[in-house]
Symmetry: C2
Subunit: 333 residues, 2 copies
């Protein structure tokens, strides 16, 4: 069996991964929202191809992260359920885990960087999770601290991206929905943090469509996937940066990189100011509040940092969890 | 046959209206979004009953108005379709008409007050409608001007609320969806402008449920329904007011009043500042951008201007079409 994870110990064929995505999609059906795929005439005029926005910002818990979190937690053993789980998150995965854990009756501890967005923090607490704030401002350092606690407390550590079920749930099921509604789409523009959603989506669209183009968008000061592709292996730790786009901060996961290294066509790197402008653009043109991390894809389209696009395109809008303080900063010209 | 419109020439029984709502719901299925019914734990804590938000702010065209507009235009005769139609709107009905007219291949002229929100104006123009801006800042004066043009040009005038198909589409189909997903709901808190949506919704829930409570929310400076109820007949014209909540400005329609006069349980009147605060609250608590007109219902719940609520409640969030300038004012930038 040819494994799609050549550099890791995990043995899993393309057929296995396809089946996992199918399972995840079936599991999530009726549990989460079918988010709209909305045409964007303005982006279509800019890019010169039909463009749709996949509005996961309108998802339950405010982001796509509920998909992978719920599917992953549903696989927990009875012993794990009794003991509870521990995870680490910039916020959206944490809200997804908190929601799913509550639905499944599992205790959840969520470790977050001290830079966590207040709306995300309050969302996790409101859902009944135990939230522990680290002394670090970045995701990567916070994860090391979180894994130590998981080990000390005998709790399984649920990675927000470095996990097959999370990748299948987050990116795979998103791709399934997109292709059902826009079968003509061939270009996919996605935000990349740890890379789990991008990997699940890229895997599915490249299995189903030829040719398909997948463009990842990151923060220019935290270009984890870009430097991983240059190095030829996953760069899992990056120094923390100061940003309101915490969802696209930090290194790339090992398993996502194994999928992405042969399936990502380009990486666009966006500045904080470009992200701010794109967040405003979404409010002005589509009247949706989105979080800065979600605006990296819009930013890449607006400032022409994507390569020439020649086929109908879907732009993934990943979330809406942003505090009013940050919105005020974004609108304060 | 006992008509539900006793004070007008229109003869229509309750059974006729129920059938019209059923037709509208069937017509719209698959054409528009099934918007989410989202629990609001924070409002539930304030009101002491389970509370859901019906998020028509996430509807195609950015408001519930697409429902009535599309169903109404679909009833047009071939001659009407050839001649084109004319309507008047504070903006959301206009966007709905523009969208439906484009889908149906009908020419549309939309008259708007000079105070029209820029996001609404640009949305109508982008959808290909001919938009005519009046010299008046209120809806009522603009409608007189619009009806003169419709007559001069031989075009049917499509009322945003004083029309059975519009009422059935806007409020009736909304009520059908709500009751399918929250059959235990017995209290309904709705924004009231001309009263079309409120009438369609109140009609349907009071036919299907006993007891059911319907609370209308208006701007305190434009309390059309409140004064109509006191007068015992529809007050269709009110002086223009200065507000960013143009969707709840102006008098009450004759036909909506005929339905509402026996079916509305209370009217809550909100100030501009209360509306601003409620718009901020929605961004802070649910991370959705909504327009000020839509925030009247939230405002009524937050400041306790609704009567004591004793049964599970649905709060209708009517739209999201608001310009960035107004958002900045609301956030006090």
């Amino acid at each position: 069996m040819a494994s799609i994870f050549e550099q890791s110990h995990l043995r899993m064929s393309s057929g296995d991964m396809t089946e996992r995505i199918r399972e995840a999609a079936a599991f999530l059906k009726g549990k989460i929202r079918r988010t709209p795929l909305e045409p964007s005439p303005k982006l279509a005029a800019i890019l010169g191809v039909p463009v749709w926005l996949k509005l996961e910002s309108l998802q339950v818990t405010g982001s796509f992260k509920i998909r992978g979190a719920w599917f992953r937690l549903a696989q927990s053993s009875a012993a794990e359920r009794a003991r509870g789980i521990l995870t680490c998150s910039a916020g959206n995965h944490g809200k997804g885990v908190a929601y799913a854990a509550k639905e499944l009756g599992i205790g959840a501890v969520i470790c977050v960087p001290k830079s966590v967005d207040r709306a995300k923090y309050e969302g996790m607490v409101a859902l009944g999770a135990e939230v522990r704030v680290s002394e670090f401002s970045g995701y990567d350092d916070t994860e090391i601290w979180a894994r130590e606690q998981a080990e000390a407390e005998g709790k399984p550590f649920i990675s927000p991206f470095d996990d097959v079920d999370v990748m299948a749930g987050n990116g795979g099921t998103l791709a399934v929905e997109i292709l059902e509604e826009a079968p003509e789409a061939r270009t996919f523009i996605v935000p990349v943090g740890g890379g789990g959603m991008a990997a699940g989506l890229a895997f599915h669209v490249k299995e189903k469509l030829r040719p398909a183009v997948v463009i990842g968008c990151q923060h220019e000061l935290s270009p984890g996937l870009k430097v991983s592709l240059e190095a030829g292996h996953a760069i899992t730790r990056l120094p923390a940066i100061e940003t309101v786009a915490g969802g696209v901060e930090g290194g790339t996961g090992e398993l996502p990189f194994e999928i992405l290294r042969t399936r990502i066509d380009d990486v666009a790197l966006m500045s904080e100011q470009e992200i701010f402008a794109a967040t405003r653009w979404m409010m002005e043109q589509h009247q949706y509040l989105i979080e800065p991390s979600a605006a990296v894809t819009i930013a890449a389209c607006l400032v022409g940092k994507v390569p020439k696009i020649t086929s109908p395109a879907v732009v993934v809008i990943s979330g809406r969890n942003v505090s009013l303080d940050v919105v005020r900063r974004i609108l304060d010209l």
